[in-house]
């Protein structure tokens, strides 16, 4: 299985997924408070717990100068691409040291150094932005590529189709990556789209498409490699659709299977495919990765997480006097 990747690469992917998982679990732990006014992260959070494989598989294949464009559910790809953890947590705390200085909150993450171009909370809004980044790359003759990450519901917005048409027409170096977690908030895919494979939407533009298991990080990565290579070499865009599942509530830290929009059974079915656990098993069974190896990994990650939260907590709130600055450049 996955002979393509040496153990070191598999471990790197595991590490990246585990790190994202632990970071988001830490957010989920620290998010609630006894009283709202005591709460410190006072902005919506959309966790990717359960969905880590797609961003990690794709971002492992990206260069620093490749750009990604994200949605409300942006933490995981931001981190997978190398976005600064401290700046992310501080942003959730509304602090001066956040990547937006507290102006954006959790849905506006970006990191220039890492090639995280932007995150935008309006569904579908980032898709043409990423295509525009690809146009810029083509115009300057760079072989960098852009990737937009978005959900199954974003594929219902007309702007996705407008973006695919233009990208296909101009053979732009961009990838449309759908993390199909089968829900838009509480509404299932089958209540929003007819029953046919999502990747059919690419054929409408004669665009290559890929559909795969969003819990298989190595599979994601192999497919991404091909699409990225095609984009870099002038072969134009690709639509990639990955099946996955959001474990917790749409927005917030809790589980919500009890409220009735989906079943505990469905959740368990997907949870068994946990991308982190699957990779852990593989590493342990076939690559001599021991419990102690993982313990070391966890320790490192946890201290990074600890550091980021301390940093965020200790950072100052932005000065209220500056709230009106830089509306214009």
């Amino acid at each position: 299985m996955h002979a393509t990747f040496p153990a070191s690469e598999l471990k790197a992917m595991f590490q990246s997924m585990l790190r994202i998982r632990l970071i988001e679990e830490a957010i989920a732990d620290k998010y609630p408070a006894d009283k709202p006014e005591n709460q410190k992260m006072r902005c919506p959070v959309h966790l990717s717990i359960g969905q880590e494989a797609v961003p990690v598989g794709i971002c492992e294949e990206l260069r620093n100068d490749d750009q990604i464009g994200l949605t409300h559910r942006c933490h995981a790809p931001y981190l997978a691409k190398g976005g600064d953890l401290r700046a992310m947590i501080a942003e959730m705390y509304g602090k001066e040291t956040g990547c937006c200085g507290g102006r954006g909150g959790s849905m506006h993450l970006y990191d220039d150094a890492a090639g995280v171009l932007t995150s935008l909370p309006i569904v579908g809004s980032v898709i043409p932005i990423a295509v525009g980044a690809a146009l810029a790359m083509q115009q300057v003759g760079s072989d960098a590529v852009s990737v937009s990450f978005f959900g199954d519901a974003a594929s219902e917005e007309g702007v996705f189709h407008e973006s695919m048409n233009f990208a296909a027409l101009k053979k732009l170096p961009t990838i449309f990556a759908i993390e199909n977690n089968h829900y838009s908030v509480y509404t299932s895919l089958s209540d929003r789209q007819p029953d046919r494979p999502l990747e059919k939407m690419a054929e409408a533009y004669g665009m290559p498409a890929f559909h795969g298991d969003g819990n298989d990080v190595a599979g994601v990565r192999i497919a991404a490699r091909e699409a990225i290579e095609r984009a870099r070499t002038g072969g134009g865009p690709t639509l990639m659709v990955f099946d996955t599942y959001r474990w917790r509530e749409h927005c917030g830290p809790n589980y919500d299977n009890h409220i009735g929009y989906r079943s505990e059974g469905e959740f368990q079915h997907w949870k068994e495919k946990c991308p982190v656990e699957t990779m852990r098993r593989l590493l342990k069974q076939e690559h001599g990765f021991g419990d102690d190896d993982e313990a070391v990994m966890v320790t490192v990650i946890n201290s990074e997480i600890e550091d980021a939260f301390v940093y965020a907590e200790n950072s100052p709130l932005p000065d209220a006097e500056t709230a009106g600055d830089l509306v214009y450049a």
């Binding site: 006072r42 902005c43 709230a323």
Partner: protein, 360 residues
Amino acid sequence: MPDKRIMNVAEAIREATDTCMERDDRVFLMGEGVADPAAIFGTTRGLADKYGANRVIEMPVAENGFTGVAIGAAMMGRRPIIIHQRVDFSLLSLEQLFDNAAKTCYVTRGQHTVPLVVRMIIGRGWGQGPAHSQSLESIFAHVPGLKVVMPSSPRLSKGMMIAAIEDPNPVLMLEHRWVHYVEGDTPEGYYTVPLEGTTKVRDGGHVTIVANSYMRYEASEAAAALAEVGVEVDIHDLTVLRPLNVDAIVESVSKTGHLLVVDSGWMQHGIGSEVITRVVEQNLTALKAAPRRLGLSDHPTPSSRELAKDYYPRAFDIADSVADMLDLPDDKRDQVTTMINKARGSLPADIPNPAFRGPF
């Protein structure tokens, strides 16, 4: 006197919708989340069970398209109600609203009408950030052919919602998220509140305050404190932005000579500029001092609670503006500030009341 029926605005809207759906089977709901467990902040709770999936239609995330679908159905005589959980999402559908909803009756000389209701919720607080907290009412109110309403109490919300559903014209109803929590006495059964004019919510002879939506409550807080120092404020709730009727405001200003407009949106081309202009057009000489307006600071909504602190006009700002207009002495100003602080308790500015649970 009969018992009061206390409910909040969210419940009142739900009750209005239920009433209309029961009375008229052409009425149906569509939108993202109308049939889900959160039920649009409770405003559609139970309706999917009661009326079924054909009348409470969960929609794909495609605002422009489904607005057009609603307009087409309305032209065929159906009575759709669209809901956007944030007014910001409607930005994707303005072509449909401005062209097809607003102009069809005119172009066809009344042969076709668009009996559509669009409910849009204005976000505030809890770090929602720049794209989930806009308050775009004046943009809608710019366009002839649309009606634009912003009810602020349970009684008004229920009555105006029923009137909106029954209106043969497209009615856009903007609901401030914090107004959803407001409780009050609400009549039982069917009744309507006309979609025209302002609603006077406090009587006073010294200053006229015009406020819309949630700003009404900030204005009332300020007015209560000002009353303690002998300043009596006339408060007019601007519940209907289009068609705009400022008669009561002009009359009030003729009496008070002072006008302050408190807008829940940005000020440039906002409610304040329109109301002030109408007042000076009609009765310039009544004004004893320059009219004033308050509204959102002229920048996008920052997420951080610290940055958002001074972004929204609050009772303090309203009281300050009144104090400036009337040239109140410092001791009275201090007294007013103290009063407001006491009334508010220690609640941070990004949370509407102690019952509130984030993140929405």
